[in-house]
């Protein structure tokens, strides 16, 4: 059974065609990357897959839950949105506790400690999220998605604002996550991720999938560089 099934999804924002007849599926254990230039529709399809936005046409499901049941989907998956927006007036620890309690998790203290330590922000546990740096806020958002060790992680530009050390650490964690049988769906415009992490990928341009498959399947020759593939598929990025 597919973990994510997207069937002929279209979405318009007024006269703007954000997504045009998207059709793909992602299987259990895959590290799937969705790549495309700014404004190509990556965040829109992620929001539809996670039940945050309704499509105009088509249908689909995430972890067997239809896109129309946003709450049902959110119970089953971990999501990192594009912008880091932890709550202004809660501390980092309180936010993670809130997430644990919203998901009815046990051993809250242990989980919170584990992820604060992983992201090396234990000393910031009592600081209001408002007063954390952007990078620290992103770490809190990542921790909130990882804390229940979900079957499926949906990540929208997860490495944004992270320093190279933590980019590497998070990359390694994601690889381990997939190795242990979990699935990852990630949006990015960082091409190196495709080569380093993804088992399969799609390239989206102006709301349409223009390539879908493994990196080797998408390459026209073994010598073709990532940047050349991207330029060939999406043009100058307009």
């Amino acid at each position: 059974m597919s973990v994510i099934r997207v069937s002929h999804i279209s979405k318009n924002f007024g006269k703007v065609k954000a997504l045009v007849d998207l059709d793909f599926s992602i299987e259990k254990g895959e590290f799937f990357g969705l790549f495309g230039p700014n404004g190509s529709g990556k965040t829109t399809i992620t929001r539809i897959i996670t039940g945050q936005l309704s499509q105009d046409k088509g249908e689909g499901e995430t972890m067997g839950v239809p896109f129309t049941d946003g709450l049902g989907i959110k119970r089953k998956v971990g999501i990192v949105p594009e912008a880091e927006t932890p709550p202004t007036f809660l501390t980092a620890q309180e936010f993670l506790e809130l997430v644990c309690r919203l998901r009815d998790l046990e051993k809250v203290d242990k989980r919170v400690d584990k992820w604060l330590e992983f992201f090396e922000i234990e000393d910031k546990r009592d600081v209001l999220c408002r007063d954390l740096s952007r990078g620290q806020r992103q770490k809190v958002m990542l921790a909130s998605a990882f804390i229940h060790e979900p079957e499926l992680l949906l990540l929208d530009e997860p490495f944004i604002n992270l320093d190279p050390i933590f980019q590497k650490k998070v990359r390694e964690h994601l690889v381990d996550h997939v190795k242990s049988g979990h699935t990852i769906f990630m949006c990015s415009h960082i091409l190196e991720i495709a080569e380093k992490l993804c088992s399969r990928m799609a390239v989206i341009k102006k709301g349409k999938i223009v390539a879908l498959g493994t990196l080797d399947e998408i390459r026209t020759s073994k010598e073709e560089r990532l940047e050349d593939i991207f330029m060939r598929l999406v043009g100058s990025g307009d």
Binding site: K74, A83, V127, M141
Partner: protein, 494 residues
């Protein structure tokens, strides 16, 4: 320091304001609000000959000018908005106010432009439609056009006074809360000198009102100079940099959740709302924001009774009805604490947050509401009416806030600008409130029947509240937490 006025920047900010409004309430909603004000003032002006038979011209002028002053005060808290924007409290709503962070323009220049922009916007959005309504009705109501023109000028200047005073106080508060407190106390002292002490007249404190007794241009000149001075003072005292202290707190979410265990499945969200209310420093303003209007209602009705000698019986039942109506502001405050955008990726829905806010609302207002009504019952010697007054208090409080929650969700401030929502809100709230008021006045002449009708109305409102509360889930369950993002459809990015 340069305070050159940049017209291009002003025009850009004005466009931003229009688009922000449209993103909140849609194009029609944005355009319809001034139309509603126009119709409202037109009807009022048409009926003015009848009203003038019962209420003096002085009273009407007082009410209009106090309303304009309060409106200006509510619009002008720009210093606070500036601080919020600069310390990232507005969620994903990024505004030109933040431009000084990265570009060669001072925050004072930005705030000065923002102030002028807001002034122009609200003149076109509400003051001009108000005056236009009166002007259209003037020939029929036999009001001379010169008086309409004078009223337009005095109302505009009163609005400007309120706006500049509020701007000054909020800019001072961002710099020094004690300084703002001193200025605030001085203003309260001036008001007290008028009512109840009577050492000064209202015209001496509010020069625009003084114009109507003196008929000399001097009070208008004084008002204009005062407004300019306060505006300049506000701009000059605007902080250039906001360096908020790092907030460090021991976790209190889970202990609070235990304390709110009695709220059942809502305990976690009620705890979250409570922690945010405390941390944001809003608890004091929320409570005083409720107490202030309650106090003002008592003062105004006292003034009507003793000062104006109106033949209306403001009894404790009347105050019970007013308490419920004023609670809307408290609920509105509670919806302003946090955009809750992070909840979009968590298994929680908007209707659950609304219910948590309702619990908090009742916790914050119940004790104050009942204490207020009981104290008035004692002061006015109406203990016999107290049980009925308490029933009315409970019924109106529950009814009004549940209707507000159903219609506006967790975006009360912005959604009430939508003419469709505003129309439904008034349609649902005003008739029952007017019936309560009329019946409360009627107790004096026909006690038995009016009391029975009031009890029936209270039970009706409670029954309606149950139905409306149930519909909160169907209305809000599937909604997105970021209102502006949702309505603007900005999800098209990436």
């Amino acid at each position: 320091m340069s305070l050159d006025f940049d017209w291009h920047f002003f025009k850009t900010m004005f466009k931003e304001e229009l688009r922000l409004h449209r993103s909140f309430v849609g194009g029609m909603g944005s355009a319809f609000f001034p139309v509603m004000i126009f119709i409202f003032s037109l009807v009022l002006a048409f009926t003015s000959p009848v009203v003038l038979k019962n209420i003096s011209k002085e009273t009407i002028l007082l009410v209009l000018h106090v309303a304009a002053l309060m409106y200006g005060l509510s619009v002008g808290a720009l210093g606070m908005i500036g601080e919020q924007v600069m310390t990232r409290r507005l969620g994903q709503v990024n505004m030109l106010l933040q431009i000084s962070a990265n570009h060669p323009i001072t925050f004072r220049q930005v705030m000065a432009t923002f102030y002028v922009k807001d002034l122009v916007f609200y003149i076109f959005y509400s003051i001009l439609p108000l005056i236009a309504g009166i002007a259209v009705a003037a020939p029929f109501a036999k009001v001379p056009f010169t008086s309409v023109g004078q009223l337009g000028i005095t109302l505009f200047l009163t609005f400007l006074l309120g706006m500049s005073l509020s701007f000054l106080l909020s800019a001072l508060a961002a710099r020094s809360r004690p300084a703002a407190g001193v200025v605030g106390l001085l203003i309260v002292a001036l008001v007290v000198m008028v009512y109840p002490l009577g050492y000064l007249t209202s015209g001496q404190v509010l020069p625009t009102l003084g114009f109507w007794t003196d008929k000399s241009p001097l009070p208008l000149l004084i008002a204009a100079v005062l407004a300019v001075l306060m505006s300049a003072g506000a701009i000059l005292s605007t902080k250039e940099r906001f360096e908020s202290k790092q907030g460090v707190y021991k976790s209190m979410l889970l202990p609070m959740e235990e304390k709110f265990a009695w709220t059942g499945s809502l305990k976690l969200l009620v705890a979250k709302e409570w922690v945010e209310l405390r941390r944001s420093g809003s608890l004091g303003p929320v409570v005083t924001g409720f107490l202030g209007p309650l106090f003002a209602v008592y003062i105004i009705t006292w003034f009507f009774r003793t000062g104006m000698g109106l033949p209306l019986s403001f009894n404790v039942v009347f105050y019970g009805g007013m308490v419920g109506f004023l609670g809307v502001m408290t609920y509105s405050w509670l919806t302003n604490l946090e955009p809750n955008e992070f909840m979009n990726v968590q298994p929680a829905s908007v209707d659950q947050v609304i219910k948590a806010k309702l619990v908090l609302y009742f916790l914050l207002t119940s004790v104050v509401s009942y204490a207020y009504v009981i104290i008035i019952g004692f002061i006015d010697g109406e203990l016999n009416l107290l049980p009925l007054a308490l029933l009315i208090t409970g019924a109106t409080t529950v009814y009004v806030v549940v209707v507000t929650a159903r219609l506006t969700g967790i975006w009360t401030n912005t959604m009430l600008f939508d003419y469709r929502v505003l129309g439904k809100f008034f349609g649902a709230i005003v008739p029952p409130l007017i019936i309560v008021m009329v019946l409360s006045f009627w107790i004096k002449t026909a006690p038995m029947i009016s009391i029975v009708l009031l009890v029936v109305e209270a039970l009706g409102m409670l029954g309606a509240s149950v139905l409306v509360y149930r519909s909160v889930v169907t209305r809000w369950k599937g909604e997105h937490f970021a209102f502006a993002t949702l309505t603007a459809g900005s999800g098209a990015s990436n």
